[in-house]
């Protein structure tokens, strides 16, 4: 069971991992023969979930 301090530390660290740091890919896409070479991967999925949850909270 995490106490408040540990929980807040984990949340702050997770926020940094997901939403900060150098964004190399941005909105650019490099393609060769029509195949996209860039995969945004996990951060896009998690960011999308976060955005979806934020919209859900606003709607309630």
């Amino acid at each position: 069971m995490l106490d408040d301090v540990e929980e807040m530390t984990l949340l702050e660290l997770t926020d940094r991992l997901l939403h900060r740091g150098v964004v190399l890919t941005g909105e650019a896409t490099i393609s060769v023969a029509g195949v996209d070479l860039i995969y945004l991967g996990l951060n896009v999925v998690l960011s999308a979930v976060e955005t979806m949850n934020a919209h859900k909270r606003k709607a309630l």
Partner: protein, 227 residues
């Protein structure tokens, strides 16, 4: 083949730490810079994978100045990595120069726990029309939001004054959630991070009306990205 990126540095260190879940870590040179990446990482997406990325970034940053790359940046080959770095090499070099060898602290100020958010009051259900009750509630909430924001700004100024750091080394997020009054990232020189953390703990313990948590030091995640 895919690469999961972790950090950008000028050169590879003498010792190569392991990548995520034991997969090989590679340094992909790109002109004056290079990217550290786990080659063919196991498909993940769990919280443990996120912390594995953090562990790899910590290992790299412990050896030399580095810029952490946002979690989940995957590229299919080394040429794609080189192309993206080449497109922004001047900007990355400048950022690396400014924040590369430094550490980041997180200062979080929480509103006191209670059933109702601070500054907010429930509009009593009385013999009012639903429309009027709704508008009164909206007005009350707006006033509470304004008051909370003003408090957060005051706390941010108090924190900056107490830490005595340069303006460019502090970034605030005011009222980022209902429980948090202020989330602040502070950039510190590597050798001064622990002392600055102690000072931050002392400052937040003296602030009225909030509970403070000071975390880190970590690699400079917040300051590596665009403000």
């Amino acid at each position: 083949m895919t690469y999961l990126l972790h950090a950008i540095t000028r050169a590879g260190p003498a010792d190569t730490p392991p990548g995520v879940r034991g997969a090989p870590l590679e340094f992909i040179a790109a002109g004056p810079l290079g990217a550290w990446a786990t080659r063919d990482p196991v498909e993940g997406g769990t919280r443990e994978d996120a912390f594995e990325h953090h562990r790899v970034v910590e290992d790299i940053c412990a050896a030399q100045p580095c810029l952490p790359v946002r979690l989940g940046t995957r590229l299919v080959d080394a040429d794609a990595v080189r192309a993206l770095i080449a497109a922004r090499v001047e900007e990355l070099l400048l950022t690396l120069e400014r924040v590369g060898g430094r550490r980041e602290l997180a200062v979080t100020l929480l509103w006191p726990e209670s059933g109702v958010e601070p500054g907010r009051r429930h509009t009593p259900v009385e013999a009012r029309t639903p429309g009027r009750a709704f508008l009164e509630r909206k007005q009350s909430d707006q006033a509470a939001d304004d008051a909370r924001l003003a408090t957060a700004e005051r706390l941010a100024r108090a924190l900056e004054t107490g830490l005595a750091t340069e303006q460019s080394d502090v970034r605030h997020a005011m009222c980022p959630s209902s429980k948090v009054a202020l989330s602040t990232a502070v950039l510190a020189r590597a050798g001064e991070a622990d002392a600055l953390k102690e000072r931050a703990v002392e400052i937040v313990s003296g602030l009225d009306g909030v509970r403070g948590v000071v975390s880190g030091p970590w690699p400079p995640y917040t300051f590596a990205g665009t403000p």
